[in-house]
């Protein structure tokens, strides 16, 4: 109990400090110097740990996914050494992602810096850390994409790491247009990427526009290509819901990118 009595003033002081930190961060919109300090301190550690852990993570994803081709490939190579097998699987997956990414970026004429995901946020956060930073030319508010489509945007960058806010984050809003009709709308995340359901919510701006399931969406683009460059494929309309009392149509959109299994991503560098 003596320990408890000595602890109480310290507890109160620490609680006050925590409340002060929350207040400061809330005022700065989640980008207070504390985050910069944390990125400087933990960034290198995460880089090393991410490099060490990525084969295992890739192995998990390769095993956990229901892709029959991957399972068949695993079974075909089951005679070889298991470690070699997992390693080659990961390398192959990365190579395929990289190749698709290069094709995509080459098609649209972007200059893309490639990086790989090394860490992810907690249960309620849809953010990841990539192992490239300002040293590679990455700055905040730059578009991050995948071989499949849009991933998100850079929110903070240190020398060696950068933080990416995924498009599925509840705080992210992406301007999109339908590839066929050119109707514009806003896409917001539902914040459940890590929960497995990474559907996005689309709200069209025009009240007369008609949405059909299966329509593809691309980014509308922002001024100066920040935070989103135009023309990046985003997803496909899954279901259209028209709520009574609502002027415009809303729809659930299935994104092209697999947010739960992010590996290699590219950051579009503004020229």
């Amino acid at each position: 109990m003596r320990d408890a009595r000595r602890t109480r003033p310290i507890l109160i002081i620490l609680l006050l400090v925590a409340v002060a930190l929350i207040t400061l961060d809330f005022r700065d919109g989640g980008s207070s110097p504390a985050h910069t300090l944390g990125a400087d301190v933990f960034g290198p550690v995460e880089r090393v740990a991410g490099d060490v852990a990525s084969p295992f993570i890739g192995f998990f994803h390769a095993v956990g996914s229901n892709d029959s081709a991957e399972i068949a490939a695993l079974q075909r190579q089951n005679d070889q050494l298991r470690a070699e097998l997992a390693q080659s699987q990961v390398s192959k997956a990365d190579e395929a992602q990289l190749g698709k990414l290069l094709r995509l970026s080459g098609k649209d004429g972007y200059r893309v810096v490639t990086a790989s995901v090394i860490a992810a946020g907690g249960d309620y956060a849809d953010t990841v850390t990539i192992n490239a930073g300002t040293r590679d030319g990455i700055a905040p508010n730059e578009t991050v994409l995948n071989g499949d489509g849009l991933v998100g945007t850079v929110t903070a960058a240190t020398a060696t790491t950068a933080t990416v806010q995924l498009a599925t984050d509840a705080a992210a809003t992406v301007g999109v247009r339908t590839a066929d009709t050119g109707q514009i709308g806003a896409l917001t995340g539902t914040g459940q990427t890590m929960a497995g359901s990474d559907d996005l919510q689309l709200r069209l701006f025009s009240s007369t526009a008609v949405l059909r399931p299966g329509e593809e969406l691309v980014t509308f683009g922002s001024v100066g290509g920040r935070p989103y460059v135009p023309g990046v494929p985003v997803g496909q309309v899954l279901t259209v819901t028209s709520q009574p009392g609502s002027l415009t149509q809303t729809a659930l959109v299935k994104p092209f990118a697999d947010f739960t299994g992010l590996g290699v991503v590219g950051v579009v560098i503004s020229r």
């Binding site: 408890a4 809330f26 309620y124 509840a170 459940q192």
Partner: protein
């Protein structure tokens, strides 16, 4: 404790926290776990540290670990959120565990696990609640419903493993253990002395050694002897009886003082002597066993009767309650033996066996907000582990005591 062990203990908490933060961000959050949520390694390490090392360690570890999780790169929430929650959870877990130990004297692993699991669940709920309070757009009711059950289940499943890891690293010597005996061989030496003394001094033991269990003395029947028996064993009695009649100047024989023998002696009542006759020598008589508390011989005056010493005799010799030497007297009874009190050699090397007093706890000082009440009625027993355990005088009040210790700073 070896130096290596000490280094491990000191470095274990920060090492565990850093490992938990990095593992959480790099591995756990990226792994495709089924069921919605993911375990929070940092929260588990914080609760395990609090449970094993007390509220201070829990508070500090909670703040440090939570802040690290807040500001480490992917972030996603405001800096200080998890520090606030983990700090509170660490303090509460340590406090509850300390209170349980203070009340019951034990810290069973099952209780530690329960406290840890409840702490982890409360921490997960607190994270969600604080996210709602600061209007984090990611923390919606739907997201909480989806994430929270899975996260709590994962945490509870991982509790035992993390607790085992942490307690193996930061295990401390058992607190409030009874002081070690100064001589390890004290028992053997004391036994040798006991054999050598052969009952001359009842039970001797070395100072500082723990006492052997005190056996209740065997009850012995008073032994009666006949005074007329001439035997070498009774030579003392015989010699005393020959000296029992000193001659006074004037040729008178001194009357023997039988005072006190007439009362409480069942043999006297049964003898049915006519009044006025003295029981002669050689009669059986016994003395009632001495009362246990009697330390000084009674000096009450003999009752009025015909058998009494005259004034001269009374002045020259102190009146005695016991019959004089040479008379039948009971052997030292068991009650007298048990009422034997040591002279208490305060710091002798050899000291008579006596149950060592239980180690006194440090008297409680003033509480933080209100004065502490002096503890009363505590007694100490030895636990199965050899540790001294404090038991309340009223054991049925222990739940209330626990509650009051949790709520108010009475102790």
């Amino acid at each position: 404790m070896t130096p290596v062990r000490k280094v491990i203990r000191v470095a274990a908490a920060p090492l565990f926290l850093v490992l938990a933060v990095v593992g959480q961000l790099v591995v756990i959050n990226r792994a495709p776990l089924p069921g919605g949520g993911a375990p929070d390694l940092v929260l588990l390490v914080v609760t395990a540290l609090a449970v094993t090392s007390g509220p201070m360690a829990g508070t500090l570890a909670g703040f440090a670990g939570g802040l690290a999780l807040d500001i480490a790169p992917p972030g996603g929430h405001l800096a200080g959120e998890y520090a606030l929650i983990f700090c509170l959870v660490g303090y509460a877990c340590g406090r509850i565990m300390t209170a349980v130990e203070e009340t019951t004297g034990e810290r069973p692993a099952a209780t530690a696990l329960t406290v840890m699991a409840v702490g982890a669940a409360v921490g997960e709920a607190g994270k969600a609640a604080l996210g709602r309070m600061v209007s984090d757009p990611s923390v919606t009711g739907q997201a909480i419903r989806h994430v929270l059950p899975g996260a709590v289940v994962y945490d509870v499943l991982l509790c035992a493993f993390v607790l085992w890891l942490v307690s193996a690293a930061v295990r401390r010597p058992a607190p409030e253990r009874a002081p070690r005996p100064e001589f390890a061989q004290a028992y053997g030496v004391a036994a040798a002395f006991r054999l050598a003394s052969a009952g001359a001094a009842p039970r001797l033991r070395l100072a500082g050694s723990t006492p052997p269990p005190v056996r209740p003395p065997a009850r012995a029947e008073p032994k009666l002897r006949l005074s007329g028996v001439r035997s070498p064993a009774l030579s003392r009695t015989h010699a005393a009886s020959s000296l029992a009649q000193p001659a006074l100047p004037g040729g008178r024989a001194v009357k023997l003082n039988f005072a006190g023998s007439g009362r409480g002696n069942p043999l006297d009542g049964a003898s049915a002597l006519p009044p006025g006759r003295s029981p002669g020598r050689g009669w059986l008589r016994a003395q009632p066993p001495r009362p246990a508390a009697a330390t000084a011989p009674r000096r009450t005056s003999p009752p009025k009767g015909w058998l009494r010493a005259d004034r001269l005799m009374a002045a020259s010799a102190p009146p005695r309650t016991s019959p004089g030497k040479g008379w039948l007297r009971p052997a030292r009874t068991a009650s007298a033996a048990s009422s034997w009190r040591p002279k208490s050699p305060s710091r002798g090397w050899l000291r008579p066996a006596r149950p060592a007093p239980a180690p006194r706890r440090a008297s409680p000082r003033r509480g933080w907000l209100r004065p502490a009440r002096p503890p009363k009625g505590n007694w100490y027993t030895r636990g199965p582990s050899g540790r001294w355990l404090r038991r309340g005088r009223r054991p049925w009040r222990s739940p209330r005591l626990l509650l009051s210790q949790l709520v108010g700073g009475r102790r």
